[in-house]
């Protein structure tokens, strides 16, 4: 059976599992719908967080990015893992003790302000929407590439599946399907990695096999006239590597869909342990990815070294050229630049099974894994959007007297609305959506992270400080991104400014974050302290019981 046949099977089986789990996890209260009844075990929550965190981009594109960046790819490896240390130490246990439903809940109560709630809800909706549109688009692409299904139909199928388990089960359904999705994606990712490690070095452990490959890869790149793979700052200077890494880390700890995951566990202790499990599960993929990156790059460069332009006749090249992911000039790649320029980075993960001589079944597994990654992230994001609309804006401001049943109904409807809009954005992407996904981290770093951390650790932080800090951090970062990426956002020829004191658009969130901290602290000190009840609340959340 070919790839398509197997893919129908792997996708069919996994999707059926998600629907079943969603059905079994159906809920009948807002506590079940928003925080899974606060009953999720720490390990399960860790796996769910890991799946929620690892999107289609992590799964399919990250190894490719690292492969082409070499050392500089560390910005993604450290950036997207280091933030969990911040979450575990600075946020998770305290938010769990606080124990409500959403991030704007915390902001509203800590900063005793409806305005703060609204600002936080809008920021959460904005960041989550742009992020989720990218996931739905990823689902469409996966369907069209692996199953030959039209892109729009693929998006539609994804929407229906997610809507089903999210509407029925809310956070509970989402969490348990995410656990299943983690199992699928980690299986699908590590099998090809182990196989290619074994084929190339005889060692099946990717993290160990790299010791064999890296020196050869460095040498090969040098021979072909490129910088060695492991050379630092080949394409990105130290300042930007630092800023982007820090921005991604802090942004991680500021993303609403990650933060809310810590509301769903049974206790403060479980919140800390679930952060451990989350990073443990994430690390399995994140330490495998650079290995896959090196193996695939080594294999491809080596093949080019031997065959030159003749590489265009090799079977994996021909297969993927048919899908448009490999595009060489007439007569094959004449130079190594032609070679690297003609390969879509996603090839690194997609072609690895074939390169390692694995059967079509494994390729089909990779397809199911990529879809698992996209759907798990999408569902987490959709819940944040729904909760911001139904719980924060409707339930807390518009109609605070609404019954639990009514709130639940509104919550379910908001999921449907969000799914529809996300699907539409996935099918008709606004040019800047892709940009904002990458910069969602900068926006989260500049808006949420500082005021939540200060809210927990500094009793003096007050509502004027937080609102000013959040607004200014957000505005500054947003404006900077628009100016520096004017080509995609505004359709201009060139960016309006190149960088901010040498810092590029990916790292500018660090400056926004510092601005937020400074303004929040300054304005808080210059205005009246928070009321005693709020200070007591801060005191209360610092202790597990």
């Amino acid at each position: 059976m070919g790839i398509q046949g197997w893919t129908w099977i792997t996708v069919g089986v996994t999707f059926a599992a998600y629907l079943y789990i969603g059905y079994r996890s159906r809920v009948t209260s807002t506590r079940g719908f928003y925080v899974a009844g606060q009953g999720v075990p720490a390990i399960a929550n860790g796996a769910a967080t890991a799946a929620d965190w690892m999107s289609a981009a992590s799964f399919i594109s990250m190894a490719g990015l690292i492969s082409f960046m070499g050392y500089d790819g560390s910005i993604y490896l450290m950036g997207w893992t280091g933030g969990y240390v911040l979450l575990a130490l600075l946020l998770a246990p305290f938010l769990r003790k606080f124990g409500k439903f959403t991030v704007p809940d915390f902001v509203a109560e800590r900063y005793y302000s409806k305005t703060a709630r609204v600002v936080a809800a809008i920021a959460a909706i904005f960041v989550s929407f742009t992020y989720v549109a990218g996931q739905m688009g990823g689902v469409g692409v996966a369907f069209s590439r692996f199953l030959g299904v039209e892109f729009e139909i693929g998006v539609l199928i994804g929407m229906v599946i997610v809507a089903f388990f999210a509407v029925l089960g809310g956070m509970k359904g989402i969490t348990y399907t995410q656990v299943a999705q983690y199992c699928v994606l980690i299986f699908a990712y590590t099998i090809p990695a182990i196989a290619i490690a074994f084929v190339l070095t005889g060692n099946p452990v990717p993290q160990l096999a790299i010791a064999d490959i890296l020196p050869k890869l460095d040498g090969l790149q040098r021979d072909l006239g490129l910088d060695p793979y492991s050379s630092p700052f080949a394409n990105m200077d130290m300042l930007n590597v630092f800023c982007v890494t820090l921005c991604l880390m802090v942004g991680t700890a500021g993303l609403p869909h990650v933060i809310v995951r810590f509301y769903t566990v049974k206790s403060v202790r479980d919140a800390r342990w679930s952060a451990f499990w989350a990073l443990f599960f994430i690390a399995i993929l994140y330490t495998t990815a650079p290995a896959v990156a090196m193996f695939a790059k080594y294999y491809i460069l080596n093949q080019y070294n031997e065959l030159g332009a003749g590489i265009e006749g090799v079977s994996w090249v021909k297969n993927w050229a048919a899908t448009g992911l490999v595009t060489f000039p007439e007569g094959g790649p004449a130079t190594v630049q032609d070679l690297l320029g003609g390969i879509n980075r996603d090839i690194i993960v997609l072609a690895t099974p074939e390169i390692a001589g694995l059967s079509s079944f494994v390729v089909a597994l990779v397809a199911a894994g990529g879809l698992a990654a996209a759907l798990s992230t999408a569902s987490g994001l959709l819940l944040v959007i729904s909760s911001a609309l139904a719980h924060d804006i409707y339930g807390s401001i518009i109609n605070p007297k609404a019954s639990d049943r009514k709130r639940l109904l509104v919550g379910r409807w908001m999921i449907i609305v969000a799914v529809l809009l996300a699907g539409l954005l996935g099918i008709f992407p606004l040019g800047f959506v892709a940009e904002v996904v990458a910069f969602a981290f900068g926006l989260a770093a500049a808006s949420f992270f500082p005021i939540i951390v200060l809210g927990i650790f500094w009793k003096r932080a007050n509502k004027y400080g937080a609102i000013s800090g959040m607004s200014l951090g957000l505005a500054f970062t947003f404006v900077m991104i628009v100016l520096m990426r004017a080509q995609s956002v505004l359709g201009l020829e060139e960016p309006i400014i190149e960088s901010f004191f040498g810092i590029n658009a990916q790292g500018i969130g660090v400056v926004g974050m510092l601005l937020n901290f400074a303004v929040t602290i300054g304005v808080s000190l210059a205005t009246t302290p928070p009321p005693v009840e709020v200070q007591e609340m801060v005191e209360r959340i610092r202790y597990p019981a």
Binding site: Y84, I210, S230, F242, A545
Partner: protein, 91 residues
């Protein structure tokens, strides 16, 4: 379960100390070794790989996981010592 003010102060100070220490290691390993010191560390070889590069792409991640584990374990111990062991909240 009420805790006396004395317990609270000591407990919170212990928490802060733990957090700051772990964050210091996080910063030194991630940024110090992985970024600022990477070129210097590359002079050393780990099984044939430049050490700085390996820290940035693999070692730092292992350390991060370890840091969270240490935090969870030591916090558990501190909780028990302060008599703050939690009862399971209902459902």
């Amino acid at each position: 379960m009420a805790t006396s003010p004395f317990d609270r102060q000591a407990y919170w100070r212990g928490q802060l100390r733990r957090i700051l220490l772990l964050l210091a290691v996080w910063a030194v390993v991630g940024f110090g070794m992985g970024i600022f010191g990477v070129e210097a560390l590359n002079a050393f070889s780990l099984g044939g790989m430049p050490f700085g590069f390996w820290m940035a792409q693999q070692g730092s991640i292992f350390v991060f996981v370890l840091l969270i584990m240490i935090y969870a374990v030591t916090s558990d111990r501190a909780d028990r010592a302060a008599g703050l062991g939690e009862r399971e909240k209902g459902g």
